[in-house]
Point group: C2
Chain length 388, copies 2
């Protein structure tokens, strides 16, 4: 090819793509010199320098001056992604609590708020608690609503493409609510609503037990049992948002699995439903025979639905999350044995490392993904909440 057929349009398009390559290399990585950036992007050094200076002028990158500790030659300037140029919010709206988190564009959490909510609370009350939790985060971080670039809200039950939980939700009155529409009255940024199991799966891959895997079945094991699926590194929602809802199939026994714990004969009178499972796991750990039987039956039923997921997807890894993951020591070995009996290939099984924060963290991750998608589509304007 000769110079005269390289049009101005071609060159501009290439420059934009190259700027994206440089930002991608710096997102979440240590500061780098122009020489390092040129090597990692495959671009020429002079071309890289021009683009980097433009990104600094626009506010996307900041200069890290050399600290002068080098004794050989003049140390080179480094550049880092300016993660503080924007922020996102993740909210976990659960049955008993709302957990909100606010982070910069690198996902570094700047504020957290956890507020209790009555399990029987209606949608208006629950949304008011969510608002309060988000407000606490904004106040702690010193930010206005219009400085938030994306919000994700995690809820129980499958969520359709419109952010509604119309198919099924265990939260009272929630099927008629749109948290996205509610938040849109105060926030101009995009608001996504997503199923809690799916968000927890994202979180485990981002910062938890599944950082090294691309094919993951995440189990939310608690008084409800759910699943989130990551296939080839991507969260799978399904055509209507209902992927992972294997628990609805009676044959796989997830609907009744926790009842083995609630109906444990050695359970003392006066222990409420919310605390029964914890008591049974502790008693099993102390050698209580009836409790050990209850845990064994629970795990056997948990394994049937898990086997259905594993046989369908053949994942690399199963992550046991949710409230019962605190008792993974009592569950994992038997779960592996049961899968060994039914599955052609038994994946590795690990316990969640994120615990109760996994849904809110996954909501942050999805909000960051949303920002990235808009940024890389819009071609990197100067920092401002990118338009939806």
């Amino acid at each position: 090819m000769t110079e005269q057929v390289t049009t101005a349009t071609d060159v501009n398009r290439m420059r934009e793509l190259n700027a994206l390559s440089i930002v991608r290399v710096l997102r979440g990585n240590p500061p780098s010199t122009v020489t390092e950036l040129a090597a990692r992007t495959g671009l020429s050094r002079p071309g890289t320098d021009v683009i980097v200076q433009g990104l600094v002028a626009d506010g996307w990158l900041t200069v890290v001056e050399p600290d002068g500790s080098s004794i050989v030659g003049r140390p080179a300037r480094r550049y880092r992604f300016n993660a503080g140029t924007g922020h996102v919010v993740g909210v976990d709206v659960g049955a008993h609590k709302v957990l909100a988190m606010l982070s910069d564009l690198d996902g570094t959490v700047a504020a957290t708020s956890r507020l209790p909510v009555d399990p029987g609370a209606g949608p208006a009350e629950r949304l008011a608690v969510a608002d309060a939790a988000v407000d606490e985060c904004l106040a702690a971080a010193g930010l206005r609503p219009d400085e938030i670039w994306a919000i994700t809200v995690g809820v129980t039950g499958p969520v359709d493409a419109g952010g509604r939980t119309a198919l099924f939700t265990p939260l009272p009155g929630w099927e008629s609510v749109s948290p996205a529409e509610h938040l849109a009255t105060r926030f101009s940024c995009p608001v996504q609503v997503e199923n809690d199991c799916k968000l927890a799966a994202l979180a485990e891959r981002w910062q938890g037990a599944a950082r090294d895997a691309d094919d993951i079945v995440y189990l939310l094991a608690g008084m409800r049992t759910g699943a989130g699926l990551i296939i080839d590194g991507t969260l799978r929602r399904g055509y209507g948002g209902a992927a992972g809802e294997i628990g609805a199939l009676r044959a796989v026994r997830w609907l009744t699995a926790p009842s083995h714990l609630e109906s444990c004969p050695s359970l003392p009178a006066g222990i409420g439903t919310d605390d029964a499972a914890a008591w049974v796991f502790n008693a099993a750990r102390s050698g209580d025979k009836a409790a050990k039987t209850a845990v064994r039956r629970y795990t056997r039923d948990l394994a049937v639905g898990t086997a259905a997921l594993v046989l369908t997807l053949d994942p690399q890894l199963v992550v046991l999350g949710g409230g019962f993951s605190r008792s993974a020591d009592l569950i994992l070995d038997q779960l592996a044995r049961e899968l060994g009996r039914t599955c052609l290939r038994v994946p590795e099984i690990r316990a969640s490392t994120l615990g109760a924060e996994s849904v809110a963290l996954g909501a942050l991750r999805l909000a960051l993904d949303e920002v990235d998608a808009r940024l890389f589509e819009a071609g990197l304007p100067a920092p401002a909440a990118p338009r939806a």
Copy 2:
């Protein structure tokens, strides 16, 4: 950006990417003019012309001269992808037959060979039949083995990353066989081995009942029941190649489903296993009560495993394929009703339109995908079987 920072490397890289864009636009599409190609790729017209002439010189494109029927002005030359520059082979190695197909790079079938094989035949005999079927195709197309760019072999049972069926195979002695190694003694091109259900799923999306869908559960319904999964437009193999093997879970009843047909009380004596199902479906169509009950029980059990797949993946579409899809008229309505009882969202259900050719066609598609991956990675050398 100024001209002096556009290095020769940057320009060469851009030219290569632009050539790939043009080939992509022409693959499987009608011939186009330079002006049309420029519009569709977003490249400048002079730049497009330079690249097109290079691709013609290399043999990737051929010129379609104007037919002179235009009466207004001079008609423009068109260019088409030269699909005949390379060929691929797809082979379906089944229990009762081997079906081989040979196509050009557009997937247009140039030769087909179908040879019977004894269900009890050992691996050496079965591979010899496969060789013979491939040889018939080569002879019919007038091609040498070194003119084949890729081969895919479809087999029953899950296939691991090494192309082996070590986990489980219903073909006698087949667990110790590597069809890829066998074919490598005669063919220098890449040889892939893949599970038959997965290939049939690919074929239905390529040319069959699922052309408009990206999230597909394909059911192979016959004396064996299997599944192939396409998610977000991509065939999913699973971490160890065992995705879709839900039938191994006893709770979903696929292992025993066909026995309802084989044990139908109205089945006359003397009808062999291979013909029993066809007899029962026909009898049910004619109103035989026992046959209708057998079909209903079969479908009910088929639905349990299907529900597990649907609840796990929430697909857009379920395709009923395999030998029993010829009796889809007796199965589809009930299958939809059963799914309606258990699934949160019932996908559309359609019968396969490709019948007995689906596995071999899917093998062609996978071979073509393999060629494309190598071409677009290697950056379009002049036509020749691209190196693996």
